[in-house]
């Protein structure tokens, strides 16, 4: 079933990105998902076919801190009306395991005016920690402890995890999701779905897709390239498209 101005691929989530992919050029530089890297993504809202608006930017910076640990720094800038921006910055200490399990994390949010001034009433600084089946969320005034299952993952750290997963079908990973740093969503699965040759920027490129399902998420599809680099992450009408890759 072809649309009026584009041909549908066999891949629903790539169709959601629609014309935004028309001129997309996949990054070609060498990429080692285990090493230090910086990846930036455009954040897109795609409510209708042929409408895919860039509404923000996500930057992830990874740095190994030991044999089996790494730091992940997150900067998320969300466009707001009247040229305001909500900026979220976070520092995650994670394990280099299948889920990039978060150990400790801090994050701050603020809304900035078009002139770059912080709007004081919107500022927040909070921290989280995972230990022994419990997640603790705290700020200067309050602390909450929430029981979780044995396996946990944080949404932005999954952008790292999928880059290091085997590119073949294995037993699905099962975990509780810590979404947006403090929302616990249990009963998640993450698994390899398929390998596919996809036409991008005039050439056919081999990509690998992983799916995440669970409570409180519209199904996610993560697409990585031959080197494991995450190119696209799509959940319903919310999409992330790689804009730069540095190592």
């Amino acid at each position: 079933m072809a649309g009026k101005t584009h041909a549908l691929t066999d891949y629903y989530t790539l169709n959601c990105l629609d014309l935004t992919l028309k001129d997309f050029e996949a990054p070609r530089a060498r990429f080692d998902p285990q090493g230090a890297w910086e990846l930036a993504y455009g954040v897109y809202s795609a409510p209708r076919a042929h409408i895919c608006a860039r509404v923000g930017r996500l930057r992830l910076q990874r740095q190994s801190t030991g044999d089996d640990t790494f730091d992940l720094r997150v900067t998320y800038e969300k466009t707001l009306p009247a040229d305001y921006t909500q900026i979220v910055t976070a520092h995650l200490e994670c394990r280099s395991d299948a889920l990039s399990t978060p150990v400790r994390w801090t994050w701050s949010t603020v809304t900035q005016s078009p002139e770059g001034e912080a709007v004081a009433v919107t500022q927040l600084e909070r921290a989280g920690e995972a230990r022994a089946g419990e997640v603790t969320i705290r700020d200067a005034r309050a602390e909450s402890r929430i029981p979780v299952g044995a396996s946990i993952a944080l949404n932005w750290a999954l952008f790292d995890a999928v880059q290091r997963l085997p590119r073949k079908a294995v037993e699905p990973l099962r975990f509780s999701l810590i979404d947006h740093f403090d929302q616990i969503k249990p009963n998640q699965t993450l698994s390899f779905r398929q390998s596919a040759k996809v036409s991008l920027g005039g050439e056919r490129i081999r990509l690998y897709a992983y799916n995440q399902f669970g409570q409180g998420v519209v199904p996610w599809e993560y697409w990585v390239d031959d080197q494991g680099r995450l190119l696209f992450a799509i959940s319903g009408i919310e999409a992330y498209l790689i804009e730069s890759s540095e190592q």
Partner: protein, 469 residues
């Protein structure tokens, strides 16, 4: 009046430190926000008189978009997990016969903020503004000394506006619910965390989800080759409703949003996505409720939770809204304040409406409601006090549609359409048998037409409202 629920809240432990008041005020922060300043109030009358004595409660008014009444776990939905909405059900009174004044975004919202019917506010369709001269909630409460703040979807007329009369706007917007609701919840969390004022507050947290389901229906024919984009989900899909394929005789305009060619699989995936979107907004609501609990103000804050309208969910083969069936018109309405309002109460007796929210807030705040407000304060029902309650309510659909709901029946009529509808809502809650032609219901039909006439005679329609349809 009610039946007790047996649900238990999700267990959490929280250690809240004593709140310290800081020096700056939110009003100061409002000025600092520059373009996000609030506009001047424009009431037609002198404004509310503040009570002479006694502390006034705070209000947290939480709105979802396109959430049906029975789409909460605590209201019996087996396909969704809503621990935070369930928290509200367990902490307060949940009205089970609660209706939108007009199951469409802008019209319903105009009633929330004015206590008037959409035909009076002039908002008879999406993207219209409340007509000038009608007092609105933000300005009314601000004049009475409340600190008023708003975050999220407004849609009167624009979806997100930097200025809303009577409110300090906490920025949110650009994108759909999946990208906006987290901004809204963070803004509300920050407001509750950072506010400095001693004044009571009225905070509106207006979320978009699960409205994102609209786009799934619109896009599915254009983006999908198969009915189930994720075959791995085949065994996790909800069952179809019992009235899925039943379409009683109906006025012509009801046929607007039927998807006849969808397979059962496609319908079930639609439902699966809808319930995940509800879970997404439930998490956002949890963030705001946690922030309220940690602010030290929860004991003196009345939380009102509702939605503008429901969602078709495949009932009668419908998607979306703006038709009179309960799946679109019936919405949650939960009021909670432990210690002040009874807990774990479900009121399945009284007919209530989005019209009643303004009156209820005014009553608790000790304010007179603006002249012309048609809603009734829910306070006597919440506190289980004797009160004469309405025998019927009316809601509007699609410009000229009117529905009269009495305790037993639902009567539907559209101007210039000879087909009416009458459902026995006790015997036929899934609205499968249209009784309007059956002679034994002739008196019931007459009675409901008369009630509608009486209701219409009380209204002061906005000039533009009579020009449409």
């Amino acid at each position: 009046m009610s039946q007790k629920s047996s649900e238990q809240p999700t267990e959490r432990t929280s250690d809240t430190t004593r709140r310290r008041f800081l020096q700056t005020s939110v009003a100061g922060a409002g000025a600092f926000m520059g373009r996000w300043a609030f506009g001047a109030a424009s009431p037609t009358e002198a404004g509310p008189r503040a009570p002479s004595s006694g502390p006034q409660p705070n209000f947290l008014f939480v709105i979802c978009d396109q959430l049906g009444l029975d789409a909460l776990a605590a209201h019996g939905c087996p396909d969704v997990h809503t621990p935070n909405m369930d928290r509200l059900v367990n902490r307060g009174v949940s009205f089970m016969e609660s209706y939108s004044t007009n199951p469409l975004c802008s019209p319903a919202r105009s009633s929330f903020f004015t206590g008037r019917m959409p035909v009076e506010t002039g908002v008879v369709d999406n993207g219209l503004a409340i007509r000038a001269g009608i007092p609105r909630m933000g300005a009314w409460f601000r004049q009475a000394g409340y600190e008023t703040a708003y975050s999220g979807k407004w849609h009167l007329p624009g979806p997100y506006q930097p200025k809303i009369d009577g409110f300090t706007v906490l920025p949110a917007g650009v994108g759909e619910g999946d990208l906006v609701d987290t901004v809204t919840s963070r803004s509300c969390q920050a407001f509750l965390r950072n506010r400095r004022s001693d004044a009571p507050f009225l905070l509106v947290a207006s979320f978009v989800q699960p409205h994102d389901i609209c786009w799934w229906a619109i896009n599915s024919g254009k983006l999908l080759r198969e009915d189930l984009p994720f075959p791995q989900l085949r065994d996790r899909l909800p069952e179809l409703p019992p009235n899925h394929k039943i379409r009683p005789e109906a006025p012509k305009v009801h046929d607007a949003r039927i998807y006849r060619r969808w397979s059962d699989l496609k319908w079930r995936y639609y439902l699966y996505i809808y319930y995940r979107q509800i879970e997404m907004v439930d998490a956002e609501i949890g963030r705001v409720l946690d922030a309220l609990d940690q602010s030290g103000q929860a004991d003196n804050t009345i939380v009102v939770f509702t939605a503008d309208h429901g969602e078709g969910r495949g009932r009668h083969r419908n998607v979306q809204k703006w038709f009179p069936y309960d799946e679109a018109a019936k919405v949650p309405l939960i009021v909670s304040c432990p210690g002040r309002i009874p807990e774990k109460v479900k009121d399945a007796t009284h007919l209530v409406s989005g019209l009643d929210i303004m009156s209820t807030l005014c009553d608790y705040a000790g304010l007179e409601a603006p002249r012309g407000v048609l809603g009734k304060s829910l306070r006597p029902l919440l506190e289980d006090k004797p009160v004469e309650w309405r025998d019927y309510l009316v809601y509007e659909t699609h410009f000229t549609g009117r529905t009269v709901r009495t305790p037993q029946f639902k009567y539907v009529t559209y101007e210039d359409d000879p087909v009416e509808q009458l459902f026995d809502m006790k015997a036929d809650p899934w609205e499968t048998q249209n009784l309007y032609k059956e002679s034994q219901y002739a008196d019931v039909m007459r009675q409901h037409r008369q009630l509608l006439g009486e209701w219409q005679a009380r209204l002061s329609p906005a000039p533009q409202a009579t020009d449409v349809g």
